[in-house]
Structure formats: structure tokens, C-alpha cells
């Protein structure tokens, strides 16, 4: 376990573990956190895992970046960013995670709290009835082999053809809802069988659909570009690629175990493939299939959420009030080939973001026109029952963290301890007493996700803003939560 004296302060929000900490470190580790979150980061093995990445992954560029919501993962820490040189660096499935393409989507309605308040219970029921968790049973969508192929290659364009999306939706999704270079032929039959019944399902764990309210706007121009105003009702969706991505990650982690270069790694889940090898390229192509599956999964759930809003509010208010308009959709578990400025030079790199969000600054050509002047929207869900944030990427995130920032509150307490300390039924009653309507698949699962098991999301946001990795746009508070 690292100690505070192993880190060198650079500024109040940036800490460095220099390469002198371990003779095998190729690059330093940089943690972006205030003092309080630094103390949390030192409590588990997260920083040691970041050091292990700095030791093990060939072709690393600059530094391994660690976000303030970091916590211990498997192999790589959750909240880590590692960039490897293209094409002679490496790619690691563990640097993306098992839930490939896990991410967040934000939608905004024209409803105010006053308009929605009398209907929140019915709305929670309608969302819960229409959005299957899929846990152990799969979903309701019938997906053929041809459909799954198209989902992987076309991403959300498939959903548009099927009537689950609007043309406007596509413009407001990272990579326009389809990562290029996906190849269904590089996905195992087992992943296909596992993924097909699960498209359009939420899953369990920390995945959720949350109805929220824009409590405060901090940046009028950016909020206006996103259609956010104080007092408007929002919907946030957090899920990923379900069993499809889990199986792809498992398949490639297993395949890599036999490669000679993984021997002697500090952790078997750090297994990697050189980008230039067939295995490395195959993983990238399969990973992009799962990333596209995840975009479509959130799109289908959006369709289900829109149906729920229509069911509750049709005939009560005009459609423009209850229609859910997409603000943005992003992945926080992915690897992307991007160009960044490192040491004064433009370098093409493969950026692993595991529990970290892309946060491109204003003017970046990859951003849709509407967001190019203000920067990329960044969606930071808090723990259940607490606030969430909308941020935007900055020049600072480009210069200091490969265009990346935090992804959430980040766990601080183990699931086993949370279950011992929190009773699901008591937590449910407490949230209901606070006016938050909760629908949960399991009381035990609810206890594991108790707010006390997470860091304070406001500290996380203070840290990334202080470190210059993002700018505040709006703070959201929850009204209803649907958990698988």
C-alpha cells in the first residue's frame, strides 16, 4: 500500500508518483484529487494498481492518469487513464474492463418539478415496468443474428432504422453512436449467444435509470447548448454492453493468458497484446462491437423511457413537455485511438479509459457542432439518492489527462461491509422519506449501493474542476431511481 509521502504534490489537486518509486515504472502516475480524496485513494490498492500499469503496459506515453473517484479494480484501477503509442504500444482488455462501453446518457424534458411531482410515483412504476433489468432472464426485445451484426457494425443507426431513435439522437452521442473499426467476425459465438437476449436491458449492480431535476446551472452558455434550465426534469441512464461485452472481455483475457509476454506481470488481469499483433487488432475490433452494443442498449432503454413518459403524461401535457431530448451519451469504459499533444508533439495513441470519461475541450473536431464552442458534455452520476453533475471538457483536460476526467462518485466501502451496515428496506424508507421514489430489483442490491458506500460526488467534481480537467455546467438532484 502506498503512503502519502510516496506522492509528490504538484498543485493542490495534482499528485505525482515519480518513476523513482519503482525501478520498472516507465512513466509517472498522476492523481488528480483534493486532500480528502487523496486520503481515500490511499486506503485500498488503487494507486498500487496504477503503479502496476505504469510498470507493465508497453509503449506508455506521458503518465498514467488517475481520477479523484478512483478505487481498486481488477488489474487496472477504476478511474485510470493510460495512453500507449500507436502502433507499437499495447492494448489491454483489463484497461477497458469487463463492461465494455459502460456509460451514461442524459435526457431532458420540458417538464418542471411542479408539473411532474403529482405523477412521480406513476412515472417510477411506468419506467420500472418498461425497462427490463434482464438479470437472469434476458429482455423483451427479439434480436436476430442479422440484427446483432448490424448493431455491432452500425451502432445507433440500426436503432434509427428500427424506430428506436431519432436523427437528432445520433448527433448527440459520442462517436455518433458507432465506433468505427468494429468487426463482428472477431466476436466469439459465445458472446453472441450471451448478448442477444440482453439488448435493451439495464442489468444490476450500480446500473440505474434516474429521473432528476436541474437544481442549479453554473454555466449558462453551456447549459443553453445542452437545453438544460434550472427546474427541468431529466432522465439519466447508466448501463453498458451487458453479457455481450463481459464475454468478449473474458474471451480475450483468457486468450492472452497463453501469450509469452504476459508471464511475470504483477497481475494476470493486466494481460495485454501489442497493438500491431493479430490478437491486439482482433480485440480492438471485438471491443468496438461491444462499445456499439452499449450505445444501442442505452438507445433502446431511451425508447422505453420515452414510452413511459408518454404513458404517464400524454393527455396531461403537450408532447413538447414530456418528450425526452437527448443531451449526450458517452462511454466511461473504452479504448480509443486519438491524437494528443505530449511533450510538445502531436502523438497518435490508444487511450484506455476505465472508469474515466472522455472530456474533449472546446473546438475539438470530434465534437458535434452544437457542443464545439463549449466543449464536450461530461456526465457524472453521484451515488443513489445524491446529486449528479453535468460538466464540460476543457483545454486543461486535453493538456493534463489525454482529454479525460472523472466518471462518478467512486466506491469507498466494500459491498460486504455495506450489506452489514445498511439494511435495504431501511434505506428504501429513508430515500422515500426524502421524496425519492425507488424501484429496486433486490433489497440486498440496494444496500450494496447505499450512498454511504460512495465518496461525495461534490468533492470529486471540486477536484476535477480544481485540476482544470472540466468545468461545471449543472447540478442535478434525484426524484426517482429505477435499479435492476
Amino acid at each position: 500500500m502506498l503512503r502519502k509521502q510516496d506522492l509528490r504534490p504538484i498543485d493542490p489537486y495534482t499528485w505525482e508518483i515519480p518513476t523513482s518509486f519503482h525501478r520498472q515504472m516507465q512513466v509517472p502516475v498522476r492523481l488528480f484529487a483534493n486532500e480528502r480524496l487523496l486520503a481515500y485513494a490511499l486506503k485500498d490498492e488503487a494507486l498500487q494498481q496504477a503503479v502496476n500499469v505504469a510498470r507493465a503496459l508497453p509503449g506508455l506515453v506521458g503518465f498514467v492518469a488517475v481520477m479523484p473517484d478512483v478505487h481498486q479494480g481488477y488489474g487496472f484501477p477504476i478511474g485510470g487513464v493510460a495512453a500507449t503509442r500507436w502502433p507499437d504500444g499495447a492494448i489491454s482488455p483489463g484497461g477497458v474492463g469487463y463492461d465494455i462501453g459502460c456509460g451514461v446518457r442524459l435526457l431532458v424534458s420540458g417538464l418542471t418539478f411542479k408539473m411532474a411531482a403529482p405523477h412521480l410515483d406513476a412515472l417510477a412504476d411506468a419506467l420500472n415496468a418498461r425497462i427490463p433489468s434482464g438479470v437472469g432472464r434476458g429482455g423483451t426485445l427479439k434480436v436476430s443474428h442479422a440484427d446483432l451484426t448490424a448493431v455491432c457494425h452500425q451502432g445507433v443507426r440500426w436503432a434509427l432504422e428500427k424506430g428506436y431513435a431519432t436523427p437528432e439522437d445520433l448527433e448527440r452521442i459520442e462517436s455518433q453512436g458507432a465506433m468505427a473499426g468494429a468487426d463482428f467476425g472477431k466476436v466469439s459465438q459465445r458472446a453472441k449467444e450471451r448478448g442477444r437476449p440482453q439488448l435493451g436491458t439495464l442489468g444490476a449492480g450500480n446500473h440505474f435509470v434516474e429521473v432528476g431535476l436541474v437544481e442549479q446551472v453554473f454555466d449558462e452558455a453551456a447549459a443553453q447548448a445542452m437545453g438544460l434550465r434550472e427546474g427541468l426534469v431529466t432522465v439519466m441512464i447508466h448501463t453498458g454492453s451487458r453479457g455481450f461485452g463481459h464475454q468478449i472481455c473474458s474471451d480475450y483475457v483468457r486468450a492472452l493468458q497463453g501469450e509469452p509476454y504476459v508471464r511475470g506481470l504483477p497481475d494476470r488481469d493486466l494481460a495485454y497484446a501489442p497493438l500491431a499483433t493479430r490478437l491486439g487488432q482482433n480485440y480492438l475490433a471485438a471491443m468496438r462491437c461491444a462499445a456499439n452494443f452499449a450505445f444501442v442498449n442505452r438507445q433502446v432503454i431511451t425508447h422505453q423511457a420515452r414510452a413511459a413518459f408518454e404513458h404517464v403524461f400524454r393527455g396531461v401535457y403537450a408532447p413538447e413537455a414530456w418528450w425526452l431530448r437527448l443531451v449526450y451519451d458517452l462511454h466511461h469504459n473504452t479504448a480509443k485511438v486519438e491524437t494528443h499533444r505530449v511533450g510538445g508533439k502531436r502523438v497518435k495513441v490508444c487511450v484506455h479509459r476505465k472508469g474515466a470519461t472522455r472530456a474533449f475541450g472546446p473546438g475539438h473536431p470530434d465534437l458535434p457542432g452544437v457542443y464545439r464552442p463549449v466543449g464536450q458534455p461530461v456526465l457524472v452520476p453521484g451515488s443513489m439518492g445524491t446529486a449528479s453533475w453535468v460538466l464540460v471538457g476543457t483545454e486543461g483536460s486535453m493538456a493534463r489527462a489525454f482529454g479525460s476526467t472523472c466518471h462518478g462518485a467512486g466506491r469507498v466501502m466494500s459491498r460486504s461491509r455495506a450489506k452489514k451496515q445498511v439494511r435495504g428496506a431501511a434505506l428504501l424508507a429513508q430515500l422515500e422519506a426524502e421524496g425519492i421514489h425507488v424501484r429496486a430489483g433486490s433489497m440486498r442490491g440496494l444496500a450494496e449501493e447505499a450512498p454511504s458506500a460512495y465518496k461525495d460526488v461534490d468533492w470529486v467534481v471540486e477536484s476535477v474542476v480544481g485540476a482544470g480537467l472540466a468545468r461545471q455546467v449543472a447540478r442535478l438532484v434525484p426524484l426517482a431511481v429505477i435499479k435492476g
Binding site: 469487463y98 437476449p197 440482453q198 460486504s416 430489483g441
Partner: protein, 135 residues
């Protein structure tokens, strides 16, 4: 040694420690631990389904992780939860049969068993393992 398992502290995921007198019993206990932690409820009245298991694994850690991942694959692909009937590992291949029932409901879903810090060791009393699952 009597077979058993207990949950270990891990910030975000599930870590299990498992012990048993034989390696086959260790795998069976690991599956039982996962089933219990996940709160799997199956339809015991439905006619069971049998599947043969064949997993290449040249070390006990790989045998354990790939055995569990086989159960997760079958759970999602078929909607059935399988319990091991017979298991033998000859140092290269894990073979056996699994008996499955339809899943009625589950409290929690494991995404995968990981190789992160996996340990399997043989002791004078039997076998012990520690492994982490992504949830």
C-alpha cells in the same frame, strides 16, 4: 477439512475465499458461494438439463476462473443456472457434467470471474482459493 466459503473485503467487486478437501470440491464450493451471493432462485420443479463441461486449463487458477465463467455464460445465454455434478481436472483439462434449472430470479448479477490476484493452493488439509468477480 470441511468445504466452505466467505466473502472478503474488496472496494468495488466481490471477492470470495473458498476451501475444500479436494480440488473438485473446491470448484463445487466456489459455484455454491457464487449462487448464494447472487441470490439465484431456480425452478427446481422444471425438468433439469444436463451439460458436459470441457475446459482447457493447465493450472488450477485457470480451471477455477474458466469454470465459473462457463456458469455465467450459460446463465446469460440460456437463462439457466447450472450446478456441477461431477468434475475432474487432470492438470490440462477440466471435465465434468453440470445439471441446470431455469432461473426464476436473481438478486445480483456477476459479470465475470477475473484473474486479478487469483490464488489457488493445495495445503496439507485440502485446497484454498481466493478470487475476485466483477459485479
Amino acid at each position: 477439512m470441511k468445504a466452505g466459503f466467505r466473502e472478503r473485503e474488496h472496494t468495488a467487486d466481490w471477492a470470495l475465499e473458498v476451501w475444500a478437501p479436494t480440488f473438485a470440491a473446491l470448484l463445487r464450493e466456489a459455484a455454491r458461494g457464487v449462487e448464494q451471493l447472487s441470490g439465484v432462485e431456480v425452478d427446481e420443479a422444471a425438468p433439469p438439463r444436463r451439460r458436459l463441461l470441457h475446459v482447457l486449463a493447465s493450472d488450477p487458477e485457470t480451471a477455477l476462473i474458466e469454470f465459473l465463467n462457463e456458469l455465467f455464460y450459460l446463465r446469460d445465454a440460456e437463462g439457466w443456472w447450472y450446478r456441477p455434478e461431477t468434475l475432474t481436472w487432470d492438470g490440462q483439462t477440466l471435465r465434468g457434467s453440470l445439471l441446470g434449472h431455469p432461473v426464476r430470479r436473481m438478486a445480483k448479477e456477476v459479470k465475470a470471474a477475473t484473474y486479478h490476484q487469483v490464488q489457488v493452493r493445495s495445503t496439507a488439509e485440502g485446497w484454498r482459493a481466493v478470487f475476485v468477480m466483477d459485479v
